[in-house]
Symmetry: C2
Subunit: 81 residues, 2 copies
């Protein structure tokens, strides 16, 4: 069994009010030097057997159709060591 | 400006109904060979200047107090290349 990680983040040009709220809380709570925070999602997908190119393509299709809203989000897929 | 990534996931012993719903949808949508999905959060924290040990300790404290609920979640902090 292998683990593939899919990270989904809002595209850079899309406003991220959750991240802004966290950044605001940081300065109120006394954390210095935090310039920006953006919040996204992380999916850990456990796939049967070894991960080959076909499996990775499947997970990319999964990310594209189910995990990310590609109008406003971008995703990256990688095999976790 | 450097980017520190904080990944927050439910602890392995905590049930993840969101992830289960995604895994169920995978098999209904015809994605084969997906055994388990777990969903978590990813935070991209932009910090001023270079990242040294003190900055990383700050971000760990931030993760511990603000980004993760350490009763049910675990987090990892890493500098993104």
């Amino acid at each position: 069994m292998a683990r593939v990680v899919v990270d989904v983040m809002l595209k850079p040009e899309i406003l991220d009010p959750q991240g802004q709220a966290i950044a605001g809380a940081c300065s109120r709570l006394g954390f210095e030097g935090i310039e920006q925070v953006r919040q996204g999602k992380r999916f850990e997908v456990e796939v049967e057997g070894a991960v080959d190119e076909a499996k990775l393509a499947d997970v990319r299709r999964l990310a594209e159709t189910l995990l990310a809203n590609t109008v406003i989000e971008e995703y990256s897929v990688r095999v976790e060591d």
